[in-house]
Symmetry: C5
């Protein structure tokens, strides 16, 4: 059995961890799922590393919702760097699912975006673990998570 | 017994370490607490790592008050990256409690903010160590430390 | 036999992995080639490290197409830092082949640039593995991948 | 006997290493002191790490004078990150004593600032090694090195 | 015998590696010199680390010529961080000799600057390996590589 770790935050205004778990269960009911919640996105890297070490996760979804202020951008950058370091050290994939509060025009769209992006990354998690060959089929397709795909450029 | 490390600075204009210790004691009188003070926030990462190694801390609160100038922002960024590295290496949580001097409109609010944020992060520390399941219950609630919570977005 | 790893993304709007494989095969038909595809450029570092560890690649081409927005620039920066860390840890070369979406004036040029840059970096990969002395011959020649070479400055 | 390493640069316009040594000797005549000089601030991290490894320093003062240009700011940032990494790896404190050339209004003030900041950090080095409890007494006092202290905020 | 590694790029518009080798030979004819060339500055860190590991270099000169565009600045920053990481890991000095294309007013000055800076850093390499005590004598002298020295500030 494969296990996916789900780590989210109390800072987020949407329960992204719950959405991720439901999406993963719908894709593969037998999947092992572990969950933990931390205060903010800068706390994700340590929690993700522990998911790999203590819960034997094969892949971790790291979910968060950075704020709009300049300091929040820096914070998101630091969190991303930390997540990347953990992935490199553990040599296992981490899907960073960040929804920036200024990506959406209002609360309603923000909630929609958080759900949609999380669901589409849950599908990436599923494919990466169980059907990596389908990821290769999707190479260069201009895929996006949340907003519409950009699509591939047809070469002349 | 669990132990929390408290590291703060002489640069800060508020004795954040003392506030943290009082808040932690109020939450759990039997908690082990270790404290050290360094000159500035860039000195926190080394001191935090030593807290884990020499004082067997299970979690460390790293407290500081970055200044308003551009160079202070860079300094805070460097300190944050260092703290994240230490957390990743030690695989134990570090709660970064930074109060930026330009977050408050005057000294009075700055002192209030430093106290309130420290107290609310002390509660996070307590929950992470003793009741991690309560952190999961708070996922996606839009919690903030210091200023008022943003609150959750109700999904339609 | 030497092996080159090829890692690309579903985010890219051009199938850069396929272009790289064709270019490498044309340069050296007996070359071992391994391929994998990840969602976005921030997922490259982990996949590249696994290429070295699990597929014994001697060099990896990491292909991606960062977007135009400010957040995409930060994302590319984080991906680059991660790739560099992996190279340093593994002590084997990684050719980062990034085509920024704002480098080209339209989709047609973007597709051309992605192909040309990938092909020219495939040649670098070939030379670095099989003819490193030819790289020394090219030192200081102002070479570019994609757009025209800047050329050397003639010393007086 | 405790040993402090002193590392400075040929780039600096003030002999900060000499000032540090004199200040340390005045504070504790029996202190072991080791010194080395490198070209610029980006060369400090390697030299500092060697101070710890080859000279058994218990603490290192890393002294430098970043220039005014944008590229110098980036350079100082890189040097700071490197120093932090070394501190984390060695788990011993490094006091970064940087005097930015644009902090002072003229050469005279720059020389004064370089001396004063170095001397005040020498005192920090002394206290951290011999009287860490006095650092705790100074927590939250708004101390600065060089320019006047900001002072503590009195809580109401 | 001591060995200096020389690593440069095909991106540079001046053969900086050749200049470095000639300068080093003039300073110390018996010096061991190893050379390799990579595509761009982001490829330097891996090549430098291999110089230390595979060629037993005691010091490496890392030579490159970052472009004028914003993306080139980020690229130079990433390369610098990578070089610093390698230095820290290997605990041996790396002299980063970067000539930014926008430092010079025209091609002629750029070629002059690349030569002069490389030669002056070759002298630093020589002194650091054979006469470190002369580096200490030069502390605080306001030395520059390429353009004129800033000189020391006379203390009153």
């Amino acid at each position: 059995m494969r296990t996916v770790g789900v780590v989210d935050t109390t800072f987020s205004r949407v329960n992204m961890g719950q959405i991720a778990i439901e999406a993963l269960r719908a894709l593969e009911p037998k999947l092992g799922i572990e969950r933990t919640t931390v205060p903010g996105i800068k706390d994700l890297p340590v929690a993700v590393r522990r998911m790999f070490r203590e819960k034997s996760s094969d892949l971790v979804m790291a979910l968060g919702m950075p704020g709009k202020a300049e300091v929040d951008k820096v914070c998101a950058h630091e969190a991303s760097q930390g997540l990347m370091q953990v992935g490199i050290l553990e040599m296992r994939p981490i899907l960073e699912v960040f929804v920036h509060m200024d990506e959406a025009k209002d609360d309603k769209e923000l909630a929609w975006l958080a759900r949609r992006r999380t669901e589409e990354h849950a599908e990436n998690a599923y494919l990466m673990l169980f059907h990596p060959e389908k990821m290769v089929e999707r190479a260069g397709q201009g895929l996006r998570q949340g907003f519409p795909d950009a699509g591939p450029i047809a070469e002349p």
